[in-house]
Amino acid sequence: MRLYVQRFWCPKRGSTDREYEDAIAFNPGTGTGRRLAVADGASESSFARLWANLLVDAYVSGDLVAGTLTDQLRPLQQRWSAEVAAKPLPWYASEKARTGAFAALAGLTLCRGGIWRSLAAGDCCVLHVRQDQLLTSFPMESTAAFDSHPRLLSSNPDRNQGLDQFVHAACGRWQPGDSFFLMTDALAAYVLRRAIDAGDSVEAALPFRRPAGFKRWVEERRDERSLRNDDISLLRVRVI
Protein backbone atom coordinates (compact mmCIF):
# COMPACT_ATOMS: atom_id res chain seq x y z
CA MET A 1 0.00 0.00 0.00
CA ARG A 2 1.34 3.40 -0.97
CA LEU A 3 -0.27 6.69 -0.08
CA TYR A 4 -0.04 10.10 -1.66
CA VAL A 5 -0.79 12.55 1.17
CA GLN A 6 -1.27 16.30 0.92
CA ARG A 7 -1.63 18.52 3.96
CA PHE A 8 -3.33 21.93 3.91
CA TRP A 9 -3.99 24.30 6.77
CA CYS A 10 -4.59 27.95 7.60
CA PRO A 11 -5.74 29.91 10.64
CA LYS A 12 -9.02 31.77 10.85
CA ARG A 13 -9.01 35.21 9.27
CA GLY A 14 -7.77 37.77 11.76
CA SER A 15 -5.53 35.25 13.52
CA THR A 16 -1.84 34.53 13.00
CA ASP A 17 -0.25 31.18 12.16
CA ARG A 18 0.83 30.94 15.81
CA GLU A 19 -2.82 31.18 16.84
CA TYR A 20 -3.93 28.26 14.62
CA GLU A 21 -5.43 25.69 17.03
CA ASP A 22 -6.02 22.67 14.78
CA ALA A 23 -3.49 19.85 14.44
CA ILE A 24 -2.60 17.42 11.67
CA ALA A 25 -0.47 14.27 11.83
CA PHE A 26 0.21 11.14 9.78
CA ASN A 27 2.71 8.35 10.16
CA PRO A 28 4.79 7.49 7.14
CA GLY A 29 5.68 4.19 8.76
CA THR A 30 5.22 0.61 7.72
CA GLY A 31 3.84 -1.78 10.35
CA THR A 32 0.29 -2.99 10.03
CA GLY A 33 -1.18 0.21 8.70
CA ARG A 34 -0.94 3.89 8.05
CA ARG A 35 -2.57 6.32 10.44
CA LEU A 36 -3.69 9.89 9.82
CA ALA A 37 -5.51 12.36 12.07
CA VAL A 38 -6.83 15.89 12.30
CA ALA A 39 -7.98 17.65 15.47
CA ASP A 40 -9.72 20.94 16.06
CA GLY A 41 -8.83 22.67 19.31
CA ALA A 42 -11.84 24.57 20.63
CA SER A 43 -11.30 28.33 20.52
CA GLU A 44 -13.36 28.75 23.69
CA SER A 45 -10.69 26.92 25.66
CA SER A 46 -7.03 27.84 26.14
CA PHE A 47 -3.98 25.74 25.33
CA ALA A 48 -6.25 23.94 22.86
CA ARG A 49 -3.51 23.71 20.24
CA LEU A 50 -1.33 21.76 22.66
CA TRP A 51 -4.23 19.40 23.39
CA ALA A 52 -5.07 18.96 19.69
CA ASN A 53 -1.44 18.10 18.93
CA LEU A 54 -1.27 15.58 21.78
CA LEU A 55 -4.39 13.87 20.41
CA VAL A 56 -3.27 13.56 16.78
CA ASP A 57 0.23 12.44 17.76
CA ALA A 58 -1.22 9.76 20.05
CA TYR A 59 -3.61 8.58 17.34
CA VAL A 60 -0.97 8.17 14.65
CA SER A 61 1.27 6.40 17.18
CA GLY A 62 -1.49 3.83 17.62
CA ASP A 63 -2.20 4.86 21.20
CA LEU A 64 -5.90 5.73 20.81
CA VAL A 65 -8.52 3.06 20.17
CA ALA A 66 -12.28 3.35 20.64
CA GLY A 67 -13.45 1.39 23.68
CA THR A 68 -10.36 1.99 25.81
CA LEU A 69 -10.06 5.70 25.22
CA THR A 70 -10.63 6.83 28.79
CA ASP A 71 -7.49 5.06 29.97
CA GLN A 72 -5.51 6.00 26.88
CA LEU A 73 -6.29 9.70 27.33
CA ARG A 74 -4.92 9.74 30.88
CA PRO A 75 -1.21 10.12 30.03
CA LEU A 76 -2.08 12.82 27.48
CA GLN A 77 -4.12 14.69 30.07
CA GLN A 78 -1.26 14.46 32.54
CA ARG A 79 1.16 15.78 29.96
CA TRP A 80 -1.15 18.66 29.05
CA SER A 81 -1.52 19.60 32.72
CA ALA A 82 2.23 19.39 33.33
CA GLU A 83 3.08 21.57 30.33
CA VAL A 84 0.48 24.19 31.28
CA ALA A 85 1.49 24.14 34.96
CA ALA A 86 5.09 24.84 33.94
CA LYS A 87 4.09 28.20 32.45
CA PRO A 88 3.93 31.34 34.62
CA LEU A 89 0.29 32.39 34.22
CA PRO A 90 -1.74 35.41 35.40
CA TRP A 91 -4.87 34.75 37.47
CA TYR A 92 -7.30 34.64 34.55
CA ALA A 93 -5.17 32.20 32.53
CA SER A 94 -4.87 29.87 35.53
CA GLU A 95 -8.63 30.00 36.05
CA LYS A 96 -9.29 29.22 32.40
CA ALA A 97 -6.76 26.39 32.33
CA ARG A 98 -8.52 24.77 35.29
CA THR A 99 -11.47 24.07 32.99
CA GLY A 100 -9.22 22.18 30.60
CA ALA A 101 -8.80 22.31 26.83
CA PHE A 102 -11.22 20.73 24.37
CA ALA A 103 -10.77 19.34 20.87
CA ALA A 104 -12.59 17.39 18.18
CA LEU A 105 -10.63 14.50 16.65
CA ALA A 106 -10.95 12.37 13.54
CA GLY A 107 -8.45 9.56 12.94
CA LEU A 108 -8.13 7.13 10.04
CA THR A 109 -6.18 3.88 9.92
CA LEU A 110 -5.64 2.23 6.54
CA CYS A 111 -4.83 -1.40 7.21
CA ARG A 112 -3.09 -3.78 4.88
CA GLY A 113 -5.60 -6.10 3.28
CA GLY A 114 -8.05 -3.38 2.34
CA ILE A 115 -9.71 -2.50 5.66
CA TRP A 116 -9.99 1.03 7.02
CA ARG A 117 -10.99 2.01 10.52
CA SER A 118 -11.90 5.42 11.84
CA LEU A 119 -12.43 6.99 15.24
CA ALA A 120 -14.03 10.38 15.78
CA ALA A 121 -15.22 12.67 18.52
CA GLY A 122 -16.83 15.99 17.68
CA ASP A 123 -17.29 17.41 14.20
CA CYS A 124 -14.00 16.68 12.40
CA CYS A 125 -14.82 14.48 9.42
CA VAL A 126 -13.47 11.60 7.35
CA LEU A 127 -14.75 11.31 3.76
CA HIS A 128 -14.18 8.21 1.63
CA VAL A 129 -14.41 8.71 -2.14
CA ARG A 130 -14.26 6.17 -4.97
CA GLN A 131 -14.43 7.21 -8.61
CA ASP A 132 -15.91 10.58 -7.69
CA GLN A 133 -18.60 8.96 -5.55
CA LEU A 134 -18.83 9.86 -1.85
CA LEU A 135 -19.08 6.47 -0.15
CA THR A 136 -18.82 7.54 3.48
CA SER A 137 -18.98 10.72 5.49
CA PHE A 138 -18.09 9.98 9.10
CA PRO A 139 -19.17 10.94 11.75
CA MET A 140 -21.12 13.88 10.29
CA GLU A 141 -23.43 12.53 7.62
CA SER A 142 -25.26 15.70 6.62
CA THR A 143 -24.85 19.46 6.67
CA ALA A 144 -27.65 19.72 9.26
CA ALA A 145 -25.45 17.81 11.70
CA PHE A 146 -23.17 20.85 11.97
CA ASP A 147 -25.93 22.90 13.62
CA SER A 148 -25.54 20.95 16.86
CA HIS A 149 -22.77 21.30 19.42
CA PRO A 150 -21.11 17.88 19.70
CA ARG A 151 -19.17 16.86 22.79
CA LEU A 152 -15.40 17.21 22.49
CA LEU A 153 -12.47 15.39 24.08
CA SER A 154 -11.17 17.26 27.10
CA SER A 155 -7.81 17.47 28.78
CA ASN A 156 -9.80 17.56 32.02
CA PRO A 157 -10.96 14.01 32.88
CA ASP A 158 -13.99 15.39 34.76
CA ARG A 159 -15.25 16.87 31.48
CA ASN A 160 -15.22 13.53 29.63
CA GLN A 161 -18.16 11.96 31.43
CA GLY A 162 -19.97 9.50 29.17
CA LEU A 163 -17.06 9.36 26.76
CA ASP A 164 -18.28 6.15 25.13
CA GLN A 165 -21.46 7.93 24.08
CA PHE A 166 -19.72 10.62 22.04
CA VAL A 167 -16.72 8.79 20.60
CA HIS A 168 -17.71 7.05 17.39
CA ALA A 169 -16.01 4.30 15.40
CA ALA A 170 -16.49 3.15 11.82
CA CYS A 171 -14.82 0.80 9.38
CA GLY A 172 -14.99 -0.13 5.72
CA ARG A 173 -12.97 -1.44 2.78
CA TRP A 174 -10.59 0.54 0.60
CA GLN A 175 -9.33 -0.17 -2.91
CA PRO A 176 -6.35 1.20 -4.81
CA GLY A 177 -7.42 4.47 -6.40
CA ASP A 178 -9.69 5.46 -3.48
CA SER A 179 -9.33 8.84 -1.82
CA PHE A 180 -9.84 9.86 1.78
CA PHE A 181 -10.25 13.38 3.11
CA LEU A 182 -9.82 14.27 6.77
CA MET A 183 -10.93 17.77 7.64
CA THR A 184 -12.00 20.08 10.43
CA ASP A 185 -15.60 21.22 10.74
CA ALA A 186 -15.85 24.46 8.76
CA LEU A 187 -14.40 22.85 5.64
CA ALA A 188 -16.40 19.66 6.18
CA ALA A 189 -19.65 21.65 6.34
CA TYR A 190 -18.74 23.38 3.08
CA VAL A 191 -17.76 20.16 1.29
CA LEU A 192 -20.85 18.25 2.41
CA ARG A 193 -23.05 21.13 1.28
CA ARG A 194 -21.45 20.87 -2.17
CA ALA A 195 -21.31 17.07 -2.30
CA ILE A 196 -24.60 16.07 -0.70
CA ASP A 197 -26.86 19.09 -1.16
CA ALA A 198 -25.58 20.24 -4.59
CA GLY A 199 -24.45 16.89 -5.99
CA ASP A 200 -20.88 17.93 -6.82
CA SER A 201 -17.92 15.60 -6.43
CA VAL A 202 -15.65 16.12 -3.44
CA GLU A 203 -12.70 16.71 -5.79
CA ALA A 204 -14.66 19.42 -7.61
CA ALA A 205 -15.50 21.04 -4.27
CA LEU A 206 -11.79 21.25 -3.42
CA PRO A 207 -10.23 22.51 -6.68
CA PHE A 208 -6.70 23.30 -5.46
CA ARG A 209 -3.47 21.36 -5.61
CA ARG A 210 -0.86 23.49 -3.83
CA PRO A 211 -0.81 25.39 -0.51
CA ALA A 212 -0.80 28.80 -2.19
CA GLY A 213 -3.86 27.89 -4.26
CA PHE A 214 -5.53 26.50 -1.14
CA LYS A 215 -5.05 29.74 0.79
CA ARG A 216 -6.35 31.80 -2.11
CA TRP A 217 -9.36 29.50 -2.44
CA VAL A 218 -10.11 29.77 1.31
CA GLU A 219 -9.99 33.57 1.21
CA GLU A 220 -12.38 33.63 -1.76
CA ARG A 221 -14.83 31.30 -0.04
CA ARG A 222 -14.66 33.41 3.13
CA ASP A 223 -15.29 36.56 1.09
CA GLU A 224 -18.42 35.04 -0.40
CA ARG A 225 -19.37 33.73 3.10
CA SER A 226 -19.77 30.16 1.91
CA LEU A 227 -16.96 29.02 4.23
CA ARG A 228 -17.19 29.87 7.93
CA ASN A 229 -14.29 31.85 9.31
CA ASP A 230 -12.52 29.19 11.32
CA ASP A 231 -9.18 27.38 11.37
CA ILE A 232 -9.10 25.07 8.36
CA SER A 233 -7.24 21.76 8.15
CA LEU A 234 -7.30 19.12 5.45
CA LEU A 235 -5.49 15.88 4.77
CA ARG A 236 -6.06 14.65 1.22
CA VAL A 237 -5.04 11.00 0.85
CA ARG A 238 -4.93 8.91 -2.30
CA VAL A 239 -4.30 5.18 -2.06
CA ILE A 240 -2.04 4.11 -4.91
Binding site: K12, R13, R18, E19, E44, S46, W91, Y92, A93, D230
Partner: protein, 278 residues
Protein backbone atom coordinates in the same frame (compact mmCIF):
# COMPACT_ATOMS: atom_id res chain seq x y z
CA UNK B 1 -29.54 40.19 8.42
CA UNK B 2 -28.58 42.28 11.48
CA UNK B 3 -26.62 40.96 14.48
CA UNK B 4 -24.47 38.65 12.37
CA UNK B 5 -21.12 40.47 12.61
CA UNK B 6 -18.15 38.48 13.84
CA UNK B 7 -16.85 39.72 17.16
CA UNK B 8 -13.09 39.79 16.77
CA UNK B 9 -10.07 41.74 17.92
CA UNK B 10 -10.38 43.84 14.76
CA UNK B 11 -14.12 44.36 15.26
CA UNK B 12 -14.84 44.15 19.01
CA UNK B 13 -18.22 44.91 20.51
CA UNK B 14 -19.04 46.93 23.64
CA UNK B 15 -20.96 46.29 26.83
CA UNK B 16 -22.06 49.37 28.74
CA UNK B 17 -23.54 48.92 32.21
CA UNK B 18 -25.69 51.75 33.58
CA UNK B 19 -25.86 51.14 37.31
CA UNK B 20 -28.39 52.83 39.56
CA UNK B 21 -26.45 54.17 42.59
CA UNK B 22 -29.34 56.03 44.22
CA UNK B 23 -29.85 56.03 47.99
CA UNK B 24 -32.48 53.27 47.83
CA UNK B 25 -29.82 50.85 46.61
CA UNK B 26 -28.66 50.76 50.24
CA UNK B 27 -31.84 48.87 51.18
CA UNK B 28 -31.62 45.12 51.68
CA UNK B 29 -32.31 42.93 48.66
CA UNK B 30 -34.70 40.54 50.31
CA UNK B 31 -34.19 36.93 49.42
CA UNK B 32 -30.49 37.51 49.00
CA UNK B 33 -28.08 35.52 51.16
CA UNK B 34 -26.90 37.42 54.20
CA UNK B 35 -29.32 40.31 53.72
CA UNK B 36 -26.83 42.31 51.67
CA UNK B 37 -27.89 45.67 50.30
CA UNK B 38 -28.81 45.85 46.63
CA UNK B 39 -25.69 47.95 46.00
CA UNK B 40 -23.36 45.41 47.67
CA UNK B 41 -24.97 42.41 46.00
CA UNK B 42 -25.02 44.08 42.60
CA UNK B 43 -21.33 45.03 42.90
CA UNK B 44 -20.51 41.39 43.61
CA UNK B 45 -22.56 40.32 40.58
CA UNK B 46 -20.87 42.85 38.29
CA UNK B 47 -17.36 41.99 39.50
CA UNK B 48 -18.05 38.28 39.06
CA UNK B 49 -19.42 38.92 35.57
CA UNK B 50 -16.27 40.86 34.65
CA UNK B 51 -14.19 37.94 35.92
CA UNK B 52 -16.19 35.57 33.69
CA UNK B 53 -15.78 37.85 30.65
CA UNK B 54 -12.02 38.16 31.23
CA UNK B 55 -11.67 34.39 31.54
CA UNK B 56 -13.77 33.89 28.41
CA UNK B 57 -11.37 36.15 26.47
CA UNK B 58 -8.23 34.59 27.96
CA UNK B 59 -6.14 32.59 25.50
CA UNK B 60 -2.67 31.09 25.55
CA UNK B 61 -0.94 34.37 24.71
CA UNK B 62 -3.05 36.66 26.93
CA UNK B 63 -6.48 38.27 26.90
CA UNK B 64 -8.01 38.96 23.49
CA UNK B 65 -9.85 42.26 23.13
CA UNK B 66 -13.16 40.96 21.88
CA UNK B 67 -15.02 43.39 24.14
CA UNK B 68 -14.75 46.92 25.44
CA UNK B 69 -16.54 47.38 28.73
CA UNK B 70 -17.85 50.46 30.48
CA UNK B 71 -19.74 51.22 33.67
CA UNK B 72 -21.68 54.44 34.17
CA UNK B 73 -23.05 54.96 37.66
CA UNK B 74 -26.02 57.22 38.33
CA UNK B 75 -27.01 58.52 41.76
CA UNK B 76 -25.87 61.80 43.29
CA UNK B 77 -24.19 62.32 39.92
CA UNK B 78 -23.57 60.46 36.65
CA UNK B 79 -20.02 59.26 36.07
CA UNK B 80 -17.81 56.40 34.92
CA UNK B 81 -17.74 53.99 37.84
CA UNK B 82 -14.70 51.73 37.38
CA UNK B 83 -12.19 52.34 40.13
CA UNK B 84 -8.50 52.90 40.76
CA UNK B 85 -6.35 52.69 37.60
CA UNK B 86 -9.42 52.79 35.37
CA UNK B 87 -11.12 55.69 37.16
CA UNK B 88 -12.73 58.21 34.85
CA UNK B 89 -12.58 55.97 31.79
CA UNK B 90 -15.70 54.63 30.13
CA UNK B 91 -14.89 52.02 27.46
CA UNK B 92 -11.96 49.87 28.51
CA UNK B 93 -10.60 46.93 26.43
CA UNK B 94 -11.04 43.66 28.30
CA UNK B 95 -7.26 43.03 28.45
CA UNK B 96 -6.86 46.24 30.45
CA UNK B 97 -9.78 45.24 32.66
CA UNK B 98 -7.98 41.94 33.32
CA UNK B 99 -4.77 43.62 34.40
CA UNK B 100 -6.23 46.57 36.34
CA UNK B 101 -8.52 45.50 39.18
CA UNK B 102 -8.70 47.79 42.20
CA UNK B 103 -7.63 44.80 44.31
CA UNK B 104 -7.87 41.02 44.34
CA UNK B 105 -9.68 39.65 47.40
CA UNK B 106 -9.60 36.12 48.74
CA UNK B 107 -13.18 34.92 49.06
CA UNK B 108 -14.52 31.60 50.27
CA UNK B 109 -16.96 29.71 48.08
CA UNK B 110 -18.62 26.32 48.37
CA UNK B 111 -17.44 23.74 45.84
CA UNK B 112 -18.21 20.08 45.35
CA UNK B 113 -16.04 17.67 47.31
CA UNK B 114 -16.60 15.03 44.65
CA UNK B 115 -18.56 12.85 47.06
CA UNK B 116 -21.89 14.65 47.05
CA UNK B 117 -20.94 17.25 49.65
CA UNK B 118 -19.64 20.79 49.65
CA UNK B 119 -16.36 22.15 50.97
CA UNK B 120 -15.05 25.68 51.39
CA UNK B 121 -12.50 26.78 48.82
CA UNK B 122 -10.66 30.09 48.76
CA UNK B 123 -10.82 31.75 45.35
CA UNK B 124 -9.35 34.94 43.94
CA UNK B 125 -12.00 37.64 43.57
CA UNK B 126 -10.88 40.69 41.57
CA UNK B 127 -12.76 43.92 42.26
CA UNK B 128 -13.18 46.65 39.65
CA UNK B 129 -16.44 48.20 40.77
CA UNK B 130 -17.32 49.37 44.30
CA UNK B 131 -20.87 49.66 45.69
CA UNK B 132 -22.29 53.14 46.13
CA UNK B 133 -25.75 54.35 47.16
CA UNK B 134 -26.43 58.07 47.34
CA UNK B 135 -28.84 60.61 45.86
CA UNK B 136 -31.64 60.27 43.33
CA UNK B 137 -32.10 58.26 40.14
CA UNK B 138 -31.01 60.45 37.21
CA UNK B 139 -31.74 57.78 34.61
CA UNK B 140 -32.46 60.27 31.84
CA UNK B 141 -29.06 61.90 32.25
CA UNK B 142 -27.38 58.48 32.39
CA UNK B 143 -29.03 57.41 29.13
CA UNK B 144 -28.15 60.76 27.55
CA UNK B 145 -24.47 60.39 28.51
CA UNK B 146 -24.57 56.76 27.36
CA UNK B 147 -25.85 57.84 23.97
CA UNK B 148 -23.07 60.40 23.56
CA UNK B 149 -20.40 57.88 24.54
CA UNK B 150 -21.85 55.15 22.32
CA UNK B 151 -22.08 57.54 19.39
CA UNK B 152 -18.32 58.09 19.68
CA UNK B 153 -17.63 54.39 20.09
CA UNK B 154 -19.69 53.49 17.02
CA UNK B 155 -17.82 56.14 15.05
CA UNK B 156 -14.63 54.21 15.78
CA UNK B 157 -16.23 50.77 15.21
CA UNK B 158 -18.79 51.31 12.45
CA UNK B 159 -18.92 47.66 11.35
CA UNK B 160 -18.89 45.99 14.76
CA UNK B 161 -21.61 43.94 16.40
CA UNK B 162 -23.74 46.72 17.96
CA UNK B 163 -23.08 47.71 21.58
CA UNK B 164 -25.30 46.28 24.30
CA UNK B 165 -26.41 48.56 27.14
CA UNK B 166 -27.60 47.03 30.42
CA UNK B 167 -29.61 49.52 32.48
CA UNK B 168 -29.87 48.16 36.04
CA UNK B 169 -32.16 50.07 38.40
CA UNK B 170 -34.36 49.64 41.44
CA UNK B 171 -36.64 52.59 40.88
CA UNK B 172 -38.18 55.29 38.76
CA UNK B 173 -36.23 58.05 37.12
CA UNK B 174 -36.05 61.25 39.18
CA UNK B 175 -35.01 63.52 36.30
CA UNK B 176 -38.01 63.18 34.00
CA UNK B 177 -39.29 60.63 31.53
CA UNK B 178 -36.27 58.65 30.31
CA UNK B 179 -38.15 57.25 27.30
CA UNK B 180 -36.84 59.74 24.68
CA UNK B 181 -33.26 59.25 25.92
CA UNK B 182 -33.72 55.46 25.74
CA UNK B 183 -35.14 55.77 22.21
CA UNK B 184 -32.07 57.78 21.23
CA UNK B 185 -29.78 55.02 22.49
CA UNK B 186 -31.70 52.38 20.51
CA UNK B 187 -31.57 54.58 17.40
CA UNK B 188 -27.77 54.34 17.28
CA UNK B 189 -26.53 51.76 14.81
CA UNK B 190 -23.52 50.10 13.26
CA UNK B 191 -23.76 48.49 9.85
CA UNK B 192 -24.74 45.29 11.71
CA UNK B 193 -27.79 46.66 13.51
CA UNK B 194 -29.08 49.06 16.13
CA UNK B 195 -27.66 49.32 19.64
CA UNK B 196 -29.42 47.09 22.16
CA UNK B 197 -30.81 48.46 25.42
CA UNK B 198 -31.71 45.84 28.02
CA UNK B 199 -33.34 46.70 31.34
CA UNK B 200 -33.02 44.97 34.68
CA UNK B 201 -35.35 46.12 37.44
CA UNK B 202 -34.31 45.01 40.93
CA UNK B 203 -36.90 44.26 43.54
CA UNK B 204 -37.78 41.85 46.29
CA UNK B 205 -41.45 41.97 45.40
CA UNK B 206 -43.30 39.01 44.02
CA UNK B 207 -44.31 39.01 40.37
CA UNK B 208 -41.00 38.56 38.57
CA UNK B 209 -41.41 38.96 34.79
CA UNK B 210 -38.58 37.82 32.50
CA UNK B 211 -38.22 38.48 28.77
CA UNK B 212 -41.87 39.59 28.24
CA UNK B 213 -43.19 39.83 24.68
CA UNK B 214 -45.92 42.35 25.45
CA UNK B 215 -47.25 44.78 28.05
CA UNK B 216 -50.01 42.49 29.25
CA UNK B 217 -49.07 41.00 32.59
CA UNK B 218 -47.00 44.03 33.59
CA UNK B 219 -48.36 45.48 36.81
CA UNK B 220 -48.24 49.24 36.27
CA UNK B 221 -47.20 52.18 34.09
CA UNK B 222 -43.66 52.07 35.49
CA UNK B 223 -43.15 48.49 34.37
CA UNK B 224 -44.74 49.18 31.01
CA UNK B 225 -42.44 52.16 30.46
CA UNK B 226 -39.34 50.07 31.18
CA UNK B 227 -40.67 47.43 28.79
CA UNK B 228 -41.08 49.97 26.00
CA UNK B 229 -37.57 51.32 26.65
CA UNK B 230 -36.05 47.84 26.16
CA UNK B 231 -34.91 46.29 22.88
CA UNK B 232 -36.33 43.16 21.29
CA UNK B 233 -33.79 40.40 21.78
CA UNK B 234 -31.75 39.49 18.69
CA UNK B 235 -32.14 35.90 17.43
CA UNK B 236 -28.99 34.47 19.03
CA UNK B 237 -30.05 35.72 22.48
CA UNK B 238 -33.55 34.34 21.94
CA UNK B 239 -31.91 30.96 21.34
CA UNK B 240 -29.71 31.29 24.41
CA UNK B 241 -32.71 32.17 26.57
CA UNK B 242 -34.71 29.27 25.10
CA UNK B 243 -31.82 26.95 25.91
CA UNK B 244 -32.10 28.12 29.53
CA UNK B 245 -35.78 27.20 29.56
CA UNK B 246 -37.39 30.61 28.97
CA UNK B 247 -40.42 30.71 26.69
CA UNK B 248 -39.20 33.57 24.53
CA UNK B 249 -40.21 34.44 20.97
CA UNK B 250 -39.20 36.95 18.32
CA UNK B 251 -41.02 39.74 20.15
CA UNK B 252 -39.48 39.09 23.58
CA UNK B 253 -37.59 42.01 25.02
CA UNK B 254 -34.38 42.16 27.01
CA UNK B 255 -36.21 43.12 30.17
CA UNK B 256 -36.66 41.60 33.60
CA UNK B 257 -38.97 43.17 36.19
CA UNK B 258 -38.82 42.50 39.95
CA UNK B 259 -35.59 40.56 39.59
CA UNK B 260 -33.98 38.77 42.51
CA UNK B 261 -30.21 38.29 42.43
CA UNK B 262 -30.42 34.88 40.73
CA UNK B 263 -32.49 36.40 37.93
CA UNK B 264 -29.97 39.23 37.47
CA UNK B 265 -27.06 36.80 37.26
CA UNK B 266 -28.88 34.67 34.70
CA UNK B 267 -29.99 37.68 32.64
CA UNK B 268 -26.46 39.12 32.46
CA UNK B 269 -25.02 35.71 31.66
CA UNK B 270 -27.40 35.27 28.73
CA UNK B 271 -27.12 38.89 27.58
CA UNK B 272 -23.32 38.88 27.37
CA UNK B 273 -23.02 35.65 25.38
CA UNK B 274 -21.46 36.46 22.02
CA UNK B 275 -23.07 35.13 18.85
CA UNK B 276 -20.01 34.84 16.71
CA UNK B 277 -16.68 35.15 18.51
CA UNK B 278 -13.63 34.79 16.25
Amino acid sequence: MPYQAEISRVNPTAFLFLIDQSGSMEDPWAGNDGGQSKADALATIINRLFTEIVIKCSKDEGVRNYFEIGVLGYGDDVRPALGSGLAGRLFVPVSEIADTPIRVEDRVQKVSDGAGGLVDQTVKFPVWFEPRAKGGTPMTEALTQAREALDGWIGQHPESFPPIVFNITDGESTDGDPTPAADAVRDLATTDGTALLFTIHLSHHRGKVEFPDGEQGLADDFARRLFRMSSVMPPHLQREAQAEGFGVNDQSRGFVFNADSAAVIQFLDIGTRPANLR
